[in-house]
Symmetry: C2
Subunit: 340 residues, 2 copies
């Protein structure tokens, strides 16, 4: 209730009130150990009395660090995965950053022009590091950012071997688990609707599918593989193609829930019952899976946890104290419902 007369208080004013020097207050604020207990309390009281809050701009200017990190999401993908994927990711990142008292700058990139503008930001020293979601197979951005000297962590990777630090989910394991489950239910003609194969995530899930077949002693059959594009319509088309080519299939592993929904519609059109005639498994465990009829068995990714891990890794890179490895592959989990 005091000392509020002229704008926000500054370090200087706190120092005067506590009867110490500017440097000392700064030390207390930043938790330096080189301050006596007595002084510390005196300063803390002055801070409380004046309601002092450090000016972020001044801090950033003097200390050349912003306490903010950027999360970049390509707009096209945000639309594609309309699912809560990105929200979950954001939630995880946000939670971890909040604990570290860092700001989250969200950047939706929707055009090449905006991507360039974003590189400008980086150059303007607005953030201490960058989180990249959903990187394309040939995206040069991660490397560009590193050239600028900024720490980066990606969600997913561009290829099996990825030089830039990343957090991915075990997409191969996801495919294997799905196939194993279907095999366990007695299915022997298991088809798959893949994502676009220029994305590593799609290739990995397909690889898992193949590995699953091999482990079950089933021989691969390219007629049972059809490429979708992670959209519902794409799933529908791919499913029609599969039914056409291999009418005897008795199960389908769709590389995403949305495609599974499309496949389900195509199955209905074709008069196939789920799960009686054809069992169905998706990936993502999105709300859509729960609401489908019948509810969809799906492989869950720990999306929020990926977000948290990314943020944690980035903070360590920024602190130049990477304690964890620079690559993380988090486990997936099969959620069994009535679709198989």
């Amino acid at each position: 209730m005091s000392g509020r007369q002229s704008g926000r208080p500054t370090l200087e004013q706190v120092a005067a009130r506590a009867g110490v020097g500017r440097g000392t207050v700064s030390r207390v604020i930043n938790g330096s150990p080189r301050v006596s207990e007595q002084t510390r309390t005196a300063v803390a009281r002055a801070v409380a009395e004046l309601g002092y809050v450090p000016n972020q701009a001044a801090r950033a200017l003097a200390g050349s660090r912003t306490d903010a990190i950027a999360l970049v999401i390509p707009e096209a993908e945000a639309r594609l995965f309309a699912e809560p994927y990105f929200l979950d990711l954001i939630r995880g990142v946000s939670a971890e950053l909040a604990e570290a008292d860092k700001q989250l700058l969200l950047t939706l990139v929707r055009s090449e022009q905006e991507r360039q503008r974003f590189e400008q930001y980086l150059a303007a020293q607005r953030v201490d590091g960058v989180l990249l979601a959903s990187v394309h197979g040939d995206d040069p951005l991660p490397d560009r950012i590193r050239e600028l000297g900024l720490p980066v962590v990606m969600n997913g990777r561009r290829a099996e071997a990825e030089p830039v630090p990343y957090v991915d989910s075990d997409n191969i394991g996801a495919g294997r688990a799905a196939v194993a489950h279907l095999v366990g239910r007695g299915r022997g003609r298991i088809a798959t609707v893949t994502g676009p194969l220029d994305m590593y995530v799609a290739r990995a899930r397909l690889g898992g599918y193949r590995a699953g077949l091999a482990e079950a002693g089933l021989s691969p059959d390219e007629a049972l593989v059809s490429a979708g594009d992670f959209t519902e319509e794409g799933g529908r088309r791919a499913m029609r193609l599969l039914l056409d080519r291999s009418p005897d299939l008795d199960a389908v592993f769709a590389a995403s829930d949305v495609m599974a929904a499309g496949a389900r519609a195509a199955l209905r059109e074709a008069g196939r019952r789920v799960p009686d005639d054809v069992a169905l498994v998706g990936v993502d465990d999105s709300p859509v899976a729960r609401l489908m009829d019948p509810p969809l068995t799906s492989v869950r990714q720990p999306i929020e946890e990926m977000g948290r891990t990314m943020a944690r890794m980035l903070l360590q890179e920024i602190a130049e104290a990477p304690q964890e490895p620079r690559r993380h592959v988090l486990p997936t989990e099969l959620i069994v419902r009535e679709s198989c």
Copy 2:
């Protein structure tokens, strides 16, 4: 390709290169008209040659404006509306801000403690203004922020009469449109599953439902009104209750798609066919609506447009040049599908 030797270039260096003073370069950068054409070009060339990008922190410190705005989303709601609602909103906000070259700081608030921390940020002068999504009926935050002297714009409102600038969708119109459609299809016993009535949005949709009945000359019946909580489970419970109380109902207006999905499940359990026995309408036009069986008729809100409008309003408030009114109610639109 030049002058890259010592960190990023500063204003001073650009000035030296262009053979002018610091002030002049600043004027050019900021588009001041008081610069001769000739000087302007010379400076522009120096900027390009050195790859100069203004340091944001220095700008903020000297100019006391940050070119960043905060978007605050209560975590609980983000979970509730798991739908793409917030992503769409973010998309709109982001698009508008990108055009104005402003940064978007996303803040997910998940506890009272974090809310207080957020107020600290504001005091730390990190942002020029605040966008508030999904405000509770009795949320004091909007007023608190205004007390701090920061411009605010909310998404939705706390009550019919709302002092703080806001952008809302026409929820009353949504209810009326839904009912009118059902009446047009020959339904006469139209029930509704509402949202939690301590939220204005829920009350408004209920109000629209009632207005719709009145306009059709149907008499209201409280046995046809049941409160949900915007969750699937809540929708299911409310629907069961309605079937119990009014077995003769022939249509339901659910105040959200998610609740409609719950209601649909309850109808299935009860052996009622949709739309033959009971017609169903939701609100949001979310992906869930499209994927339901049968696909759900739903009232679409212009979410992304709301985001854009909010951002535009806020920018005007910041510039102290509000050209638009401080309240916006955007129209909704009925998307007809097979559920009625």
